[in-house]
């Protein structure tokens, strides 16, 4: 077990670094970015807000775009390079380019073209000595937010959203398991019954429609139409109200009170739970059906074991083994949040933050969320592997 764990931790370390590096590269290679935005704004601002080379250079510095990608990555990962080594070594080592060079290409047919090539002013270790740098994510420092909460720690931003995501995802996952497992078992045991058909139909609807459709329908039905009909209604979004509101038959609800927060919790949790149940119940059903046809189940029945015991003790334990694989991603999902659902219900969680950060080129925030997700996914898979040995005696980690 110890050897297994050590081996897995080493693997996890390398997988995490490679995943982080690839995410980092793809993020920076994606079209657009702050410089494009600046140039876009510049298109019409050649008056008092005009931007010149030094302004562009400052923005490049702020986003660390003047560092070569590997150094940019290493600064993010371990906070190095931050200046000459031991204060003196490698002061003139080039780690980036402050001002790109330009080359005029004169073609044989007389055409002339100016392209960026080479480096006019190199960025050396000595020149970055005064630059602000994080300690690196390996030391728990995700740096500063670049655009969303400018110049304030990414961790502050994440911690402000984490409780909302954990509560939303935790509740919906827990409810999903509590509801989906019994439904799946009952559907399998009563295969082709009316209940099974009904659940199958609902599951197909839940699996085939995207979450934002359910979200919008839920808002329309339980919020807007219910309110217009003078019925008790659910607030359409937010984690807590901005001001007190009145619900028919229930009276005034105080903004930020437990009732207010609870009522706002219902729709997003309901939608997420419904979608999870749709997928998971089918999974359990299929797994149970397979197990119920196994010889050992038949043997148990032949031995006269009560049907309930056959299902719970003999069938269910084995049927849950594949389900553990599915749950490996739960840990990451708990942190990652529900991207679409959070946006639709204006839930101030990490999923919404991720979308926002992507759209506004806050590279540090995006990378922090991706990195933590990768780590949690790794841990989730490890836990799943360990759980296998507990639920399935045939599996030995050694």
């Amino acid at each position: 077990m110890t050897t297994f764990l050590i081996r897995r931790f080493v693997q996890m370390f390398f997988v995490t670094v490679v995943a982080a590096f690839l995410s980092f590269i793809l993020l920076y290679l994606a079209p657009g970015g702050p410089i494009d935005e600046l140039r876009g704004a510049q298109r019409q601002n050649d008056g008092m807000s005009r931007v010149d080379q030094t302004d562009v250079q400052r923005v490049r510095e702020r986003f660390e775009l003047d560092f070569y990608l590997p150094f940019r990555f290493s600064r993010w990962l371990i906070g190095w390079p931050s200046g000459p080594i031991f204060g003196a070594i490698g002061a003139d080592w080039q780690v980036g380019c402050s001002i790109p060079g330009q080359v005029r290409l004169v073609y044989p047919d007389g055409r002339v073209e100016i392209i960026e090539e080479g480096c006019e002013v190199p960025l050396t270790l000595a020149s970055i000595e005064d630059r602000r740098v994080s300690n690196g994510v390996f030391f728990g420092d995700f740096g500063l937010s670049q655009t969303i909460l400018r110049d304030r720690p990414v961790m502050t931003l994440i911690m402000s959203r984490l409780p909302y995501t954990l509560s939303l995802m935790g509740t919906s996952i827990l409810l999903s398991i509590l509801i989906a497992v019994p439904i799946g078992i009952y559907s399998a045991v009563r295969q082709y019954s009316r209940f099974d058909y009904t659940m199958t139909t609902i599951a197909f609807i839940g699996s085939s429609l995207p979450s934002f459709v359910f979200g919008i329908f839920a808002i329309l039905i339980f919020s807007i139409l219910a309110q217009r009909a003078g019925l008790p209604y659910l607030p359409s979004g937010n984690a807590s109200g901005a001001r007190d509101w009145v619900m028919p038959y229930f009276g005034r609800i105080e903004a930020g009170s437990l009732v207010d927060r609870g009522l706002r919790f219902i729709m997003p949790v309901g939608v997420l739970t419904f979608i999870n149940i749709a997928g998971w119940s089918r999974f359990i059903r299929a797994s149970m059906l397979e197990v119920l046809q196994q010889d050992y189940v038949r043997t148990a029945r032949a031995k006269g074991v009560k049907e309930r015991m056959v299902i719970i003790k003999h069938a269910l334990r084995n049927a849950l083994i594949p389900f553990i694989t599915l749950l490996a991603g739960v840990l990451a999902a708990l942190f990652g949040g529900a991207l679409i659902t959070e946006a639709v219900f204006n839930w101030p969680g990490l999923g919404r933050l991720f979308i926002d950060a992507l759209g506004r080129h806050d590279y540090n925030v995006v990378m922090a969320l991706l990195f933590v997700n990768v780590v949690l996914l790794m841990i989730g898979i490890l836990i799943a592997d360990i759980l296998y040995t507990i639920v399935d005696p045939r599996i030995r980690l050694s």
């Binding site: 019409q44 392209i115 001001r243």
Partner: protein, 662 residues
């Protein structure tokens, strides 16, 4: 097997990494040998603007409205050399361009994207030049207009030698087909489809490419590289069209000038070019109007860019909100101090789709930031209806009212002047400057006469911080020191770099003297602001002693700044909302609405839902956008559920026609 799979994995990894590394750097080898020369001057900012003064005696031949003059003539264009010197076989013919304009039924295009508008409202969105209706510089005479006229369009095409149907062709058998490139935004695809049909009715085949915005507006792709024949996108109109040098001859992006400039059409009309540069080199508004009129006249006559329509901007407010003002060129919170609630309520909730990154206006220019900052500060001026009005200033600091002086000064070698690149440099041989006569000259020796602008801003008496401390001279001095420090994080320092001297007179006024050659068109709209120099930070330091590099991370600056505006920050729950309370020390008096809550709502649908359920009171155009939600809001307005405001936006759609091929 194990070894094989490892090799396969290694190959797969290489296959993944190599293209990424290739994309990271390196230029593909040229097909032919090329000569490489290092460019000495790195110019990524605005290209050199050649300034010239048009001959005042120049006779302008008027063009009858609706009747383009001598359509067979080519535009008065200087033939370009180098890349993009091959005239486009179709679009270089002005008759074809006019035909495209006549064949465009712009009301129908508007109908396709805004079917819910009345005819009157649609009429308000129509544009004939590059300036919107109601703009102070909009020309009304000698403008060629192109009302929808299918017959006229077809006639022009016949004249140009394009005959036959359904798709016209010339006698060489070339088909009248044009590529039409724009973004894949649903909005553009919708009107683009109608535009294609309209062209087809005239016998012009239009082949659409709906490209991702990242490609179309990328810095090295699409529009920036002039990779289009007909290209559609939008410009944002401004109160002062200061940046409209984009139609000048020297603004044509070419490989030879490292693709600098935004004259994507390659349009070089000497008369227009001279006029537009002249309009940007004078501070006399009447003269500017005259010069812009010339540009608009040529612009519409040559028809190189077809203005289509202003986009629609919608605002929504709850029925009980009084004095809400929707305007295309000013933020709706600019008059929040005048808001009232007719039902006696005390709270207004504003919905914003994005959270401000900071409350420090210097380092953030997003619309959402401005919406909030108007609640916390006193702007020098407002800019309603495409013009300026004094607000924090006692008056606009114009030359006409004596608050500014623009006088001739003599400069000689060694003096600091403002060159044509927009930089403060020492005058030396080879430096290019604009003289007092408006001529662009390269300095050689001796003295030159240049214009020097001095502006005295006078702020209103009684400006007070929320803690009751009056605004004083030290506050203006602090703002000048911080705003002009490159470490502050400000995106642009253009104005700071152009200031030769700032003299602070008292608690409300100061004089800024610019370097000779600086002629900012909006010089009168307030040049400095003020920061609370008396503020003591939580760590015991005085704000005035904190270096500029730290300001962007100070909570007292970026999260809970001391307010001088109508409201003060009470709390900011990240990702959720800001709560602001009425400022009793506001110089206009305490606002009637005691609380404003700014609620962050990421999704527009959700924002509208909250508006309709009464959770939100105000949604601005930055939140409503231009999607289907606008229609929903207008319908709700018509039903009386809310107040809906529809105004022509300052953003306008147009089709550029690329006159040359590479």
């Amino acid at each position: 097997m194990g070894l094989l799979s490892r090799r396969a994995a290694a190959f797969a990894l290489l296959a993944l990494i190599l293209p990424i590394l290739a994309a990271c750097g390196g230029t593909p080898p040229a097909a032919e040998p090329v000569v490489r020369e290092t460019v000495v001057v790195v110019q990524t900012a605005e290209p050199i603007v050649v300034t010239a003064t048009p001959d005042p005696d120049q006779v302008v031949e008027p063009t009858t409205e609706g009747e383009p003059a001598d359509e067979a003539d080519e535009p008065a264009a200087a033939a370009p050399s180098g890349a993009f010197s091959t005239p486009h076989p179709i679009l270089s013919d002005v008759r074809v361009r006019h035909a495209i304009a006549y064949c465009s039924n712009r009301p129908e295009l508007i109908e396709s994207v805004y079917p819910f508008l009345s005819d009157e409202q649609k009429e308000e969105l129509l544009m004939d030049t590059f300036l919107p209706q109601g703009h102070w510089a909009l020309a009304t005479e000698n403008i060629t207009t192109y009302p929808f006229d299918l017959e006229r369009g077809q006639e022009l095409l016949e004249e140009a030698g394009w005959t036959g149907e359904p798709v016209r062709s010339n006698e060489d058998g070339d088909v009248l087909a044009l590529n039409f490139t724009t973004t894949n935004a649903q909005f553009r695809q919708t009107w683009g489809a109608v535009f294609i049909q309209q062209m087809a009715a005239c016998g012009i085949q239009v082949i659409p490419t709906y490209a991702p915005g990242s490609w179309w507006f990328g810095s090295t792709t699409g529009l920036a590289r002039r990779e289009f024949e007909l290209g559609a996108f939008a410009w944002v109109g401004q109160t002062d069209p200061a940046g409209r040098t984009l139609y000048a001859c020297n603004q044509i992006p070419l490989p030879e000038n490292n693709w600098e400039g935004q004259n994507y059409m390659g349009w070089c009309n000497e008369r227009a070019s001279i006029a537009i540069t002249a309009a940007n080199n004078t501070l006399d508004r009447d003269e500017r109007i005259r010069q812009y009129a010339i540009v608009q006249e040529e612009f519409t006559r040559d028809m190189v860019s077809l203005p289509l329509f202003n986009r629609l901007e919608a605002y929504a407010a709850s029925n009980n909100l009084v004095n809400f003002r929707a305007d295309p060129t000013e933020y709706y919170t600019a008059n929040a101090f005048e808001w009232e609630l007719s039902d006696g309520g005390d709270t207004v909730v504003i919905g914003l789709t994005q959270e401000p990154a900071t409350l420090w206006t210097l380092i953030e220019s997003a619309a959402v930031q401005r919406v909030v900052s108007f609640l916390l500060g006193v702007p020098a001026t407002t800019s309603y209806t495409y013009d300026f009005q004094p607000f924090g200033l006692t008056q606009l600091s114009t030359i006409e009212n004596g608050a500014a002086v623009n006088e001739e000064v003599e400069v000689s070698e060694g003096d600091t002047v403002w060159n044509t690149d927009g930089e403060a440099v020492e005058l030396a041989p080879g430096v290019e400057v604009v003289t007092a006569d408006g001529e662009t000259v390269v300095y050689e020796s001796g003295t030159l006469t240049m214009m020097q602008l001095s502006v005295t801003d006078t702020w209103v008496e009684g400006l007070t911080w929320e803690d009751g401390e009056p605004v004083k001279q030290a506050d203006f001095e602090l703002a000048y020191k911080i705003d002009c420090d490159p470490d502050s994080g400000a995106v642009t320092l253009a104005v700071c770099r152009s200031m030769a001297d700032v003299e602070f007179h008292d608690d409300v006024s100061y004089t800024v003297t610019f370097y000779p050659g600086v002629q900012w068109p909006t010089y009168f709209s307030g040049l400095l602001t003020f920061y609370p120099s008396h503020l003591v930070l939580s760590d015991g330091r005085n704000l005035a002693d904190v270096p500029a590099s730290e300001w962007s991370s100070l909570p007292e600056v970026v999260e809970s700044p001391l307010s001088s505006g109508p409201y003060t920050i009470e709390s900011w729950d990240k990702g959720q909302r800001m709560t602001l309370r009425a400022n009793p020390n506001y110089f206009q008096g305490e606002p009637a609405v005691s609380t404003i809550i700014v609620q962050f709502v990421a999704d527009t649908n959700q924002a509208v839902a909250q508006l309709l359920t009464g959770e939100i009171d105000v949604l601005g155009s930055e939140t409503l956008g231009a999607g289907t939600e606008v229609e929903m809001v207008i319908e709700a307005g018509e039903a009386g559920t809310i107040q809906a405001f529809v105004v022509p936006s300052s953003t306008w759609e147009h089709v550029d026609m690329n006159l040359y091929r590479r």
